[in-house]
Symmetry: none
Subunit: 199 residues, 4 copies
């Protein structure tokens, strides 16, 4: 469809240049569609960008959701979720770039969209942690602010994804494991030689 064609091009171009430096001209060229078409189908630049973000966010969420196996124990769920996330980042690099880097630049105009994605991700994590906690009979974790911990985890995962873009010689499984050792085991256990491993 025309709409999809244009969105694909837009994501590519926004990813390459960022919101401001991306030109409608280049987008129309890459899409192989005239500029008036873009305006007719997707509205002004701002709308277009918003729609890019929304679509890519949905894609990513879906990918992660599919990765999580809810029949497994919480730690394994988290691990699989992280792997799915990293696979997505690897496969849809442009999507990731747009979501993570470019979406922040537009004066908070799109913070909403991105925050929505982030909240969703955070919700997923929170659920996991809380579940794990309650299973063990400890609601304590929530008091340490489940949301805040989830936010931190998401930030860590994102940051590591960025790092990965420049150190791509590591598998998604290893990457996820590293992160598990940080957030599941903590430095303290690591120091003690106590590591986490997928079972």
């Amino acid at each position: 469809m025309r709409e999809r064609q244009i969105l694909d091009a837009a994501v590519e171009v926004f990813s390459r240049h960022g919101y401001h430096s991306a030109s409608m001209d280049e987008i129309s060229e890459v899409a192989g569609v005239s500029k008036p078409m873009i305006y007719s189908y997707l509205g002004a630049k701002e709308d277009l960008f918003a729609k890019c973000i929304r679509r890519e966010a949905a894609r990513m969420l879906e990918a992660v959701r599919q990765g999580v196996r809810s029949e497994l124990p919480p730690d394994m769920q988290l691990w699989h979720g992280l792997r799915a996330f990293y696979r997505f980042v690897a496969e849809y690099r442009d999507s990731w770039t747009v979501l993570h880097r470019q979406a922040l630049t537009v004066g908070g105009q799109f913070a909403g969209e991105v925050n929505l994605l982030r909240s969703r991700a955070i919700d997923m994590v929170s659920a996991l942690v809380v579940t794990a906690g309650t299973k063990k009979g400890l609601g304590q974790v929530a008091e340490f602010s489940g949301p805040a911990l989830a936010v931190s985890l998401v930030g860590a995962a994102e940051s590591l994804a960025d790092w990965w873009l420049d150190h791509s010689d590591v598998s998604d499984g290893v990457l996820a494991s590293w992160l598990m050792n940080l957030v599941w085991m903590g430095f303290n256990d690591l120091i003690e030689g106590d590591v986490w491993q997928p079972r």
Copy 2:
């Protein structure tokens, strides 16, 4: 001094609108100085932005560095470092915004400056972790990729800082403690009811 006056204004405006949308006109107005003065003292827009980033990065590093008490055990060092970081974010909100959000937008032109800051931060954390690890006679941590873990921690801290901007009713100490419970104890210990607390 004039230079400082201008840089302050520039940080404020860049923080508000981002690099591209910020206009030299607004900066000059906020600074209470005519535009030619800006060019004379700090050069073109790009230079100006670079100088903003460099100054704020230096400030932040200094603040964190001063917060860390190297005579304390590693976990306490980390905790104090985090607190210093959050105090800085709270006090110099604009600095933080510019460093974290806006610096990424300029086509990687300034990635260098920001990455430098980030590397410095990561180095500090790495040093702590490695120190802690070796004290216990365990080089293991390195195999989990010290750098990657440090990257993750920094990401987590940044992400939490962002979250904090919208949930400012928490003290920096609490915030740092939350993060310590994530990275030092890990979910596993938390679930077990094993929490980290400043001593």
Copy 3:
């Protein structure tokens, strides 16, 4: 065509104010076209100016070339060439102004273009003189530096053209005759009462 429309306006404005003082705004206004069109069709100010010069130079050369009747004796050829030149100056006053006065001002950036024109003119004259000389079996003239004489003649013709702009009550034929009496006969013959006249 749009391109022609713009070039016409540009020549007019450059002729009036010179390269530096001419503003793209005025050109666009005179052309009855918006500024972006100028940039789109003809590029930046410098390109625009270069294109003006090139077009006018070509025009002028063509005009002169068409004026020369190569079947006539050398002196008549020269006379006809000069007439054609003055007719061109009279008809395209702006072209002449741009070529002669304004093209020199841009820091030698366009000296090339103009010098090319001048060389062409000089070549034509040189050819004539040398032809005349060799017909009479005398290569001597070249030894008096054909090029230098040609340069001088061109300079004389240009200077006279400028003078003419303020004393337009003289026909191109008369003007050309005056010049012939200078360069063909010389003061000496004139003093002797020996004048040149078209046959």
Copy 4:
């Protein structure tokens, strides 16, 4: 004196960059004087330029005037005058550049100044020619428009001077002789092998 110091610098800078591109900053720097001084002594940029032209024009006229030996026959007077002119051009290259090239660029603002110089030069030449003519009992020359011929001669001399700047391996005497052969003898005589030589 301060005034002279500034004028010297101005001529140098105007000669290098032309009127528009020359900056008051550079002039003040070259003069070793602060900008307000320039304004105080010589007025605004336009005034300054006018004064440069006036001074250099006077210098040049004086130089030529001193070169002419009025006790000699007209052709020798002319030849000596031309030599003096070329010696001046060689020695005060900047003066010549400013007078000939740069003065034309300013939208006719300074045409007056330069034309004044030119008229003076033309007057000198006219006088010579007329004198020569009348001595021979022939008022004819005037009918060929003494002024126009003078204008042409001056143009030829200027043009040749410009050419000389790029072919400096010729003495001023030779240069003047070439020109004499053009304007005194004419192509016709040259073709006949009849050349002019200083006696």
